[in-house]
């Protein structure tokens, strides 16, 4: 088994990730890639306490990832890779460690436009997601396993914004 879900979610570890995806995928570990979280003992402890017993959380900065992510690819358990923003996920895509990108939650911000109920994107983020797909890595938006994965092109039309 390997990383079964590579998700962009600005809430990082929360109910949808731990239960909505984690339970049906029988996730054994979560890899959280975020420079700010990786650099803070308090933040790491906060997220560590949010996962069920038996689920490991590994924290990494982007710069650590080329070496660190390789060992998760051979872990026999299913795992989830999480980033809070598009830029971090794009950096991981460029390292060649991400087979597909799930946009799970990017919420309202002043510079963003709503594209789905749970996806708001800035022009820079739209551009970065297009670049990810141009590298041959499919991008879909899907908040929960029971929802339909929405292809990036359809997301960017904004037709399902409300």
């Amino acid at each position: 088994m390997t990383l079964v879900l590579c998700r962009i979610d600005d809430r990082l570890i929360h109910g949808q990730v731990v239960l909505g995806w984690g339970q049906p995928l029988d996730v054994g570990f979560i890899v959280l890639v975020d420079d700010a979280v990786a650099g803070s003992d308090w933040e790491r402890e906060l997220y560590q306490m949010a996962v069920p017993p038996g689920t490991e959380v590994h924290f990494h900065s982007v710069s650590e990832c080329p070496g660190a992510l390789e060992r998760y690819r051979t872990d026999p358990r299913p795992g989830i890779l999480l980033t809070a923003d598009v830029a971090t996920m794009r950096a991981l895509v460029e390292m060649g460690v991400v087979p597909a990108v799930n946009v799970g939650g990017l919420h309202h911000r002043a510079d963003r436009t709503q594209r789905l109920r749970y996806v708001f994107l800035s022009p820079d983020e739209e551009r970065a997601l297009r670049e990810i797909e141009a590298r041959g890595v499919p991008v879909t938006a899907q908040d929960l396993p029971s929802a339909r994965p929405v292809p990036l092109e359809e997301v960017l039309t904004g037709e399902h914004a409300s």
């Binding site: 990082l12 997220y47 949010a50 749970y118």
Partner: protein, 130 residues
Amino acid sequence: MTNSGPRAIVAGHGDFAAGLVSAVEVITGRGGLFHAVAVPELSAADIEALLRETMERTGARVLFTDLQAGSCTMAARRILRGMPDAVLVSGVNLPALLDFAFAESKPAPTAARHAAERGRAAITAVEGTP
């Protein structure tokens, strides 16, 4: 019906908070002790800002949240850092809120700790019989 303002904030997924507070009101007439907060499609930062603003506006220093891993709980834990007079109870249920509702004579943090114990003890599994 109590004449007091909110002593606690209830926050969670979907209509969880409003539903629980509604149930407290139906059972005791004391729903006004709680301020229900919903956080549909807000970022983590906006959830934290909303809860912080609600605490400041109401003066409440007790937060009840639904899920230990939930966004409201994560935001509440950030708020409690540097707020030693506040208490968070996660995994809240109706028995816990009812206990809190009848503890107006106690300081709110003390009542919250007691409510957490009562809520935990109130969960039972009853087996069917032939």
